[in-house]
């Protein structure tokens, strides 16, 4: 299964880049995330609760960032085990580009699913995955907006100082 998407974010590439590696931002952005531990600067372990079609499952998995070209691109690979619900694994190549509006983020992802989710939900999986991706980036963009709003507030106080 292949997925891709493009999002325009109202933030500079530097801000987007930092957020992508920020545990707190990721925890707020990943749909259904109940636990996110940063194991190293580039690896996380996560617990995510999801419902796809008739199957609800708690996935335990690892996420790793690799092929890092700072401020430009990276690969985000993950593997989740949902017990009897099955498993999901996939990787996404994320690229950032500076635009007048801020930053354009493009991703192309490849995902595979197995077990009960594949057998019962395959009709719904692509739509569900796209929905999850959209949810992630809309939350991500909201968190980014919060951060930059905070920065705006901080900036004048700095100028005063």
């Amino acid at each position: 299964m292949e997925l891709d998407g493009t999002y325009t974010l109202d933030a500079s590439p530097q801000q987007v880049w930092d957020a992508l590696f920020d545990r707190d931002v990721l925890e707020k952005s990943i749909p259904g995330c109940t636990e996110l531990l940063q194991i190293s600067p580039t690896t996380f372990s996560a617990v995510v609760k999801l419902k796809i079609g008739p199957v609800s499952a708690k996935f335990k998995g690892d996420v790793e960032l690799s092929d890092i070209v700072p401020l430009k691109s990276c690969t985000l690979a993950g593997k989740g085990n949902g017990g009897i619900a099955g498993f999901a694994k996939g990787s996404a190549r994320i690229t950032l580009e500076e635009t007048p509006e801020g930053t354009t983020l493009t991703y192309t992802a490849e995902a595979a699913i197995g077990g009960k989710i594949a057998a019962l939900g395959s009709r719904l999986v692509k739509a569900a995955s796209r929905k999850l991706a959209d949810e992630f980036f809309s939350k991500f963009s909201a968190v980014l907006a919060e951060i930059s709003a905070e920065n705006h507030i901080e900036t004048p106080s700095e100028s005063v100082a």
Partner: protein, 789 residues
């Protein structure tokens, strides 16, 4: 005091329609299915299955599951498999066949998505399922073997451990002259076919309730199966019990279709768990489990050629069948039997002298395939009949005329096919003729031509077929399998004069018990309702093959007939002693012994039962007072009783959407002596629907990682009543002379050729577009694809 008795004319039952004896009981909600059965202290089983198609288990953590509410035991392979002898699905007469030994739970290698890895026992199925969610299995996944052709390439990844290649079984069947015939033939027609993988989808899923009594050492297994005696033998041998310690009871079974005669890991798990815990253990498959563990059917890729003379005679066929069957061969009947029948049934209805069939059965990481209703027939018939229609079209001959020219003549028997099958007597010509009239063929062709002018595209397809029924030991016995080639019956007169028949053939809703009652009743001059038939219990009925390969009527019926005649003779012998008359002057009529010459009533059956049971002292010394007789019967003439018939399909194809409307279906069938016309027609109708299902709707879809992607009835389409056409049925009766009864099988006839007739009909409709489809199911998308949309 004697009432006037009617003459024996009311006691002719063979050939008469009787409704199924058990239908009322089912209608009243009094069916007894294993699915509903409960026993005190019963535990429920659920399985944790591999979500991956291939891999190695690195770690299993059951600690949280063990603490879950209601959980009694959590088994892994280490604990459960040790009490079960492994099994391998090979047979000696399939030379060179191989398959990796299997046991209940995976011992490390993952072979298909859905393979059971951990078994949880709990007080309820819900609690068992909840605990399954707490089991952690770490699997290192490996690339699975999915595509059958790729699996055969040198250097291909292996589908199971212990293999050196993915070939399960290969064979070639050929006549010496086949190459020369092809070299000299005026016409050669060629096509590639794909027959999709589907499954049985029984109304009642697989169900088992195993009950091991550690005090007595008795294992009782309530099992929704069609072959209780086969499982008695298997449970005894694989759990190291004596056969006498094992009782298998198959009560009402909600459909089997061949799917419920294979050994499954989960059933073995239930038996093992009952032995280990000393408590009754139940496993009832849910629908998703059925999709990933019931055997799948078909899945054949066929390359086929037909050589035809300038005069339109079929000279030879050459066929390559590639059959991917899953990672291991099914046990105990193997996964090679279907391919073997595919290559042997090709061209069977026709006068065709030369042939080459090649079969490659290969391993891959999917659910196992094995025998399902009409084993091999729809593939052989589909390929043969499509090539016939291609030849007829190219030669400008009507499809009926092409068949008429090539079918084996009705007066040309006995015959041996190019593939070695021996036919006692078939009736292809009579069936063809009857079909043509029944369907008003010429009228339909005229209507088709008219409608085409209006842009309505109807198609007519026909498909003659041969069906294998009444198998003897040739099927499995010669290959070393402990699968009974005979059946047995006990018929008894009770002290009150009632009749019971305990017989080894079984009832899955097809009406076996009803036809057995008819056969017994006719021999004893009773009404069928006066005969109680008992089936499906290895402790009470004699051993036998039970239900497979269309043997219930032909073999079971003959067994019952001979047993009932034995009882008749014994009743008359005792009556002779009581009446001080020569038994040869007596006969049975309407529940009594009468004078054979005059029909005068002499003695009620109840009186014979009373005297033999309570007052044997009044009989001469040495009188054999047995009113219980047993008889076993195995076919001894031809290795199989072949039947034949022809089907026709009328369809309308919407060339804009690819949807096919099934307008009408016809079957003319010859199953020899018809015991019960109503039930024979029901068998044919049900069979046709099971042939049309995979022709248009049913398919187990897999992605390229070996995941089944339509494991629910929302995504897997079964044929529904509203999509099915009216099915009109006609009969020709050519009894086999191998038996007194003369009945052959009929259960698979409908399935054998329905898809072939339908494919020819669809292609007939597509003819103006110069398009044709050769893949099943013929989905709207596939039809649009061949139309170039």
């Amino acid at each position: 005091m004697n009432m006037q008795r009617k003459s024996g004319s009311t006691t002719k039952h063979i050939g008469h329609s009787h409704r199924r004896l058990n239908a009322k009981r089912h209608l009243a909600g009094r069916g007894q299915f294993v699915s509903d059965k409960t026993l005190p202290r019963m535990l429920h089983a659920a399985f944790v299955r591999s979500p991956m198609a291939r891999g190695r288990i690195l770690d299993i953590d059951i600690s949280d599951a063990l603490k879950a509410p209601g959980v009694m035991r959590v088994f892994t392979a280490a604990e459960l498999n040790r009490i079960c002898e492994p099994w391998s699905g090979t047979l000696d007469h399939f030379a060179g066949m191989k398959s990796t030994p299997q046991n209940i739970l995976s011992e490390g290698d993952i072979l298909w998505a859905g393979q059971p890895v951990v078994m949880v026992l709990a007080h309820s199925r819900a609690e068992a399922e909840d605990a399954c969610e707490l089991v952690f299995i770490d699997i290192e996944d490996e690339e699975p073997v999915i595509d059958g052709a790729a699996a055969m390439l040198p250097g291909a990844k292996l589908a199971a451990p212990g293999l050196t290649d993915n070939i399960c079984f290969q064979t070639v069947l050929e006549t010496p002259g086949v190459d020369a015939v092809f070299a000299g033939a005026a016409h050669i027609f060629e096509e590639s076919f794909i027959f999709g993988r589907h499954t049985a989808v029984t109304l009642e899923p697989r169900a088992i309730l195993a009950d091991f009594d550690s005090a007595s050492g008795q294992l009782t297994v309530h099992h929704g199966t069609q072959t209780p005696y086969q499982f008695q033998d298997l449970y005894a041998r694989h759990f190291n019990l004596r056969e006498g310690q094992v009782r298998v009871i198959a009560p009402d079974v909600g459909g089997s279709f061949g799917m419920k005669l294979h050994l499954y890991h989960e059933e073995m798990g239930a038996v093992a768990a009952s032995i280990l815990t000393g408590r009754p253990v139940r496993f009832l498959a849910d629908r998703l489990e059925s999709f990933v563990s019931d055997i799948h059917a078909r899945d054949h890729q066929v390359q086929a050629r037909m050589a035809v003379s300038a005069e339109g005679e079929i000279l030879a066929m050459q066929v390559d069948d590639l059959a991917p069957v899953g990672a291991v061969s099914a046990y105990p009947r193997t996964s090679a039997a279907e391919g073997n029948q595919v290559i042997r049934l090709m061209g069977a209805p026709y006068q065709m002298a030369d042939y080459r069939g090649r079969l490659s059965v290969v391993f891959q990481n999917k659910v196992q395939t094995s025998q399902y209703r009409a084993v091999g027939h729809p593939i052989a018939c589909g390929v043969t009949e499509r090539l016939c229609d291609m030849a007829a079209e190219a030669l400008g001959v009507d499809p009926f005329d092409f068949r008429a020219r090539n079918l084996i003549r009705d007066d040309a028997y006995p015959q041996t096919s190019a593939t070695g099958y021996q036919f006692e007597k078939l009736s292809h010509e009579a069936c063809l003729q009857q079909l043509r009239q029944m369907m008003n063929y010429d009228g339909l062709r005229a209507e088709q031509a008219e409608l085409r002018k209006k842009g309505i595209h109807r198609g007519i397809g026909i498909a003659p077929f041969v069906e294998i029924t009444n198998p003897g030991a040739t099927f499995y016995g010669v290959g070393g399998a402990r699968i009974s080639a005979q059946d047995g019956a006990i018929v008894k007169l009770t002290p009150a004069g009632d009749v019971q028949c305990l017989i080894s053939v079984t009832e899955q809703g097809q009406g076996t018990e009803t036809i057995i009652a008819q056969v017994v009743a006719e021999q004893l001059a009773l009404q069928p309702s006066a005969v109680k038939v008992v089936t499906g219990d290895t402790d009470t009925t004699p051993s036998g093959g039970a239900t497979w390969a269309c043997r219930g009527a032909g073999i079971g019926g003959e067994t019952a007939l001979r047993a009932a005649r034995k009882l008749r003779d014994q009743i008359l012998s005792i009556a002779g002693k009581i009446l001080q008359a020569d038994a040869a002057t007596l006969m049975l009529s309407d529940g009594a012994v009468v004078d054979a010459a005059t029909g005068t009533h002499r003695l009620d059956l109840a009186e014979i039962g009373r005297i033999a049971t309570y007052r044997p002292d009044t009989l001469p010394a040495g009188t054999d007072i047995s009113l219980t007789v047993a008889h076993h019967f195995a076919p001894q003439g031809y290795p199989f009783d072949f039947t034949n018939g022809i089907q026709a399909s009328l369809v309308e194809v919407d060339v804009e959407t690819g949807f096919v409307k099934l307008l009408k279906h016809w079957v003319v069938e010859d199953c020899g002596t018809i015991i019960n016309p109503l039930l024979v027609d029901e068998q044919i109708r049900g069979g046709v629907v099971q042939g049309l299902g995979p022709a248009f709707f049913e398919e187990c879809l897999y992605d390229d990682t070996g995941q089944l992607t339509n494991g629910s009835l929302a995504d897997y389409l079964v044929p529904m009543a509203c999509e099915m056409p009216d099915i009109e049925i006609g009969h020709v009766e050519t009894p086999t002379l191998d038996t007194i009864l003369g009945a052959k099988g009929v259960g698979e006839a409908g399935t054998a050729a329905a898809g072939a007739a339908a494919m020819n009909a669809v292609n007939d409709a597509l003819r103006p577009f110069n398009a044709s489809v050769s893949q099943t199911p013929m989905t709207p998308a596939r039809i649009l694809a061949v139309l170039g949309h």
